[in-house]
């Protein structure tokens, strides 16, 4: 049952989430805390506050869901946030935000934008940032990876089966090499990627409260991955949403549809049909790290050439650690790299501020969190930071470059480097 009010009642205000919330830790304000926001949402539902009064505080939320990890009562904060944003948006849609989502999640538009970026100094033009955020831009428009060919893959593992790989929207433009490494690692375990035409998963839309678009994109994606193969996802934000398609549908079913009764009946029937498909889909969606871990990459790594003289640390992408509760598989894999010197990152589970399009919409807070993250990375004296999400990847890389600190690699790149040598990647 995913009624927004019901979800908020599970918060008993114990406050155990406070010290895990990046925006609370940075501001000290209850308005920018999970407990505070849940109380505000509940008050808005009860008519004691206006939705527009609470909007700035929902906007400043990263959606990192660290509070879910801390919460003893299993309050589904991520769902509360997305539904509240959906409510606010239904009342007053933000057209600029919609345009940002649309252009980021459309590979062709994104490519064009990034080409244009070369001519305007690498950051979003001031007037665009002010329209979106009311503040000066902080995030550089990311540069697509240069796809230097990797040496031919040599493996004696026989083919065991096929898998789908989410190529995604921004990911295929910005990080083609991560996809290539994903394919190679899967093949090392005997899995071949079945290439299909596919679209965006809708994660960015869902996180920003456009649940209807997210549902449509999700519906299309389930059609595009019809066979009963594992679906491997190398971007944590996407994987987290894909594993929650069922909950998204349940929520949307609680909102009374508009239109004639025939239309409503048809829509209802279609969503029931769709729900059945979605249940199977969420069950076979895996983050790359959990798939590699449970399908024997630890053993494969024993024969890898390894990485010497490199100090490695790991940043938990929020939608991996908090959204999907995956923290141990990537660490165990990295630590299994022969000769790897692994060092834990302080506050590794605290958001870096990237948070999807957050660093575009909330540049100031994003910058504070990035500085905090880079400071911790410098404390580890690591040469390489691994992480499992494109947003964190680009944002932390920007921060590390500014401070001449560590090199950022996707976990897939780091693991593939263990087999073919790090020279290919830096």
């Amino acid at each position: 049952m995913h009624d927004l009010e019901e979800l908020t009642t599970h918060c008993i205000r114990c406050g155990f989430c406070l010290e895990d919330c990046p925006t609370f830790v940075e501001t000290g304000s209850e308005l920018e805390s999970p407990r505070g926001r849940i109380y505000l949402v509940r008050s808005a539902i009860e008519g004691k506050l206006l939705w527009e009064d609470i909007k700035p505080h929902m906007d400043l939320c990263l959606g990192c869901r660290a509070c879910e990890t801390a919460c003893p009562s299993a309050v589904q904060y991520g769902a509360i946030l997305e539904m509240a944003r959906d409510q606010i948006d239904r009342k007053r849609p933000s057209l600029t935000k919609k345009a940002l989502l649309a252009s980021t999640t459309n590979p062709t538009l994104l490519k064009t934008q990034l080409k244009a970026a070369k001519f305007i100094g690498g950051k979003m033009p001031g007037f665009v940032s002010r329209a979106l955020a009311g503040e000066k831009a902080e995030a550089n428009l990311p540069k697509p990876q240069i796809n230097k060919p990797l040496p031919p893959l040599i493996t004696d593992t026989p083919v065991r089966g096929e898998a789908y790989m989410l190529t995604g929207c921004a990911m295929q433009v910005l990080y083609p090499r991560v996809h290539e490494c994903t394919r190679r690692l899967l093949r090392r375990l005997g899995y071949v990627v079945r290439d299909v035409d596919q679209g965006c998963c809708g994660a960015l839309h869902a996180h920003n409260g456009d649940l209807e678009t997210a549902r449509k994109l999700g519906e299309a994606l389930t059609e595009q991955f019809p066979d009963d193969f594992p679906i491997v996802v190398n971007s944590a934000g996407c994987g987290s949403t894909m594993k929650e398609y069922d909950e998204l549908l349940e929520y949307l079913m609680t909102i009374p549809p508009s239109g004639s009764s025939d239309d409503i009946a048809k829509e209802w029937e279609a969503s029931q049909q769709h729900k059945k498909k979605v249940d199977g889909f969420t069950q076979r969606t895996f983050d790359l790290s959990e798939f590699l871990f449970s399908h024997g990459l630890l053993d494969e790594l024993k024969n890898a050439k390894g990485l010497s003289n490199k100090r490695i640390t790991y940043h938990d992408a929020c939608h991996l650690s908090h959204g999907q509760k995956i923290t141990s598989p990537p660490r165990q894999l990295i630590q299994a790299i022969p000769n790897a010197q692994y060092v834990e990152l302080p506050e590794s589970m605290m958001c870096c501020g990237s948070a999807g399009v957050y660093n575009v919409l909330q540049p100031k807070m994003a910058r504070r969190l990035l500085n905090r993250k880079v400071k911790h990375i410098q404390e580890t004296h690591a040469d390489i930071v691994a992480t499992g999400n494109p947003g964190c990847h680009a944002w932390i890389a920007q921060g590390c470059e500014e401070q001449k600190s560590a090199r950022v690699l996707h976990t897939a790149e780091l693991l593939e480097a263990a087999f073919i040598g790090i020279e290919e990647f830096i």
Binding site: T9, H10, C11, I12, R13, C14, G15, F16, C17, L18, E19, F24, T27, G28, S29, E30, L31, G36, Y39, L40, S43, K48, L49, L50, D53, I54, H57, A70, C71, P72, S73, A74, V75
Partner: protein, 480 residues
């Protein structure tokens, strides 16, 4: 003092002394700060301020005094008796931007910090040196040093290590007139009257503690933690009395009943025999394996004598940490069962535990509300946790009534109205059950040494304060 009326004030004077981002107001802000973790009583402040230093706190208090505006200090807002709720509105002074460790002296085992720091962060800072800050309330991952001092917080390890006051060497505080006082210091209180003893546990009514010197305690070299399951509540409570009677003082001796067991098994997958009705969590620590083993054996003998179902020893540090996480987040996990809880806090002699728990269950069933128990059994410190829906005023009223009946019983059995959660607004009216008018007058006189006015955290702790009748009439059972 005339009644304070916030509609006539613009707080411009206060704003001029702080940066814009240090002042919160507006409908959402005053809502977010209208209660702490005691949710059945609420009252909105006019503004919330976030000072960053002792001198800013002094400036704010001085402004409040000159403008006649009440002020209430707040840390993490995890209090369970409404201590941080601004009963008469006015200004909430949050310490949450004052979270720096200012000085660490490992050699002399002490540390100075601003009081908005979370308790756990103090221990984290000195863990590598084998030290910790001993007071460990269940909320320690978030509750602040200042809040711990204000409530004189306890925790599971109180049994062996004492409560907060035993671990505070000195404080810097802003008194209710805005003067900065230094009491005690790195070396503790010198000869003369022990003012630290009055400040600790004063619930923010004597001023605002902004910095403190705390004592650091070595982490014991050997720690053993066991979880024991019992077939009945009575066999568990009798075991508690039995263990203490052997002369063994465990580091902690905690009990959970079926209601909590259900919540924590849902929340954390804690396993126990299906027929278990109560769990005891027992920890023994010391400097040698032999001494700790001997204590565990004596605990085992008493548990077996009382017919325990199972006794499992935590294998390693990870398992031990997990058991404590389960214990400390036990109350927090109650949100899985109901939308609201009120956790009561009473103390009784340990020998009366069996009788008292029977009484708690009978009151709950008579009032037809749910109750779960998780508490510091070794100290006889009960925490009956009532769960209900606070949107239903009938249920709220029953919960308040049930709490009062239970506290009356505690006193009847020779106990206390509160062990560690404080009086706040919740138990003010129960104070006369425990203290004679002469006792209360003596306390009021002690209060006047520091606080002779009615602005600093009004309507808390001592009953019958002027200007508070209206607040009390307003809230009973009608929190909105």
């Amino acid at each position: 003092m005339g009644a304070y009326n916030d509609s006539r004030m613009d707080f411009a004077g206060l704003r001029s002394k702080l940066r814009a981002d240090q002042v919160l107001d507006g409908s959402a802000a005053v809502r977010a700060y209208d209660c702490d973790a005691y949710t059945v009583d609420r009252s909105k402040p006019s503004v919330i301020v976030l000072p960053e230093s002792t001198s800013e706190v002094a400036t704010i208090v001085w402004w409040c005094v000159s403008a006649g505006v009440p002020f209430t200090c707040r840390g993490a807002g995890t209090g369970l008796s409404g201590g941080a709720m601004p009963a008469l509105g006015g200004v909430v002074i949050s310490t949450k931007r004052m979270n720096q460790i200012l000085e660490i002296d490992i050699e002399n085992r002490c540390l100075r910090a601003q009081t908005g720091i979370a308790n756990r962060r103090i221990s984290d800072a000195v863990k590598a040196d084998g030290l910790h800050f001993a007071p460990d309330p269940s909320s320690q991952s978030v509750s602040t040093l200042g809040g711990n001092i204000g409530e004189n917080a306890g925790g599971p390890h109180t049994l062996k290590y004492g409560v907060t006051v035993q671990h505070i060497l000195g404080v810097t505080m802003v008194d209710p007139l805005g003067e900065v006082l230094e009491i005690g210091g790195k070396l503790g209180c010198g000869p003369g009257y022990d003012f630290l003893g009055i400040i600790c546990g004063s619930e923010g009514t004597l001023g605002i503690v902004t910095e403190a010197w705390v004592k650091l305690t070595p982490i014991p070299s050997v720690i053993e933690t066991v979880l024991v399951a019992f077939p009945t509540i009575r066999s568990a409570t009798e075991t508690v009395a039995g263990i203490i009677a052997t002369g063994t003082i465990p580091a902690a001796l905690e009990m959970m009943d079926r209601g909590i067991m259900n919540a924590v098994s849902m929340a954390f997958g804690l396993e126990y025999p299906a027929e278990a009705q109560a769990l005891l969590l027992v920890e023994c620590d010391g400097e040698s394996v032999e001494a700790v083993e001997a204590e565990i054996e004596s605990v085992r003998a008493v548990c077996e004598g009382n017919g325990c179902l199972e006794m499992s020893v935590a294998k390693d540090e990870k398992e031990r940490a997990r058991l404590w996480m389960v214990r400390k987040k036990g109350i927090g996990a109650m949100g899985r069962i109901a939308p609201s809880i009120v956790t009561h806090d009473g103390v009784i002699p340990r020998s009366k535990l069996p009788e008292m728990l029977d009484f708690v269950y009978s009151v709950a069933s008579e009032k037809n509300i749910g109750v779960a128990n998780i508490f510091h059994a070794g100290d006889g410190n009960l925490h009956p946790c009532f769960y209900f829906d606070d949107r239903d005023s009938v249920q709220v009223e029953k919960v308040v009534e049930a709490g009062e009946i239970i506290i009356r019983k505690c006193i009847e059995l020779g106990g206390s109205v509160s062990g560690e959660h404080g009086i706040g607004v919740e138990k003010m009216d129960l104070m006369p059950l425990m203290f004679t008018p002469a006792d209360l007058e003596a306390q009021a006189m002690a209060k006047r040494i520091f606080n002779d006015g009615e602005l600093c955290n009004p309507c808390k702790v001592l009953p019958n304060q002027r200007g508070c009748a209206e607040h009390r009439m307003r809230w009973r059972g009608v929190a909105t």
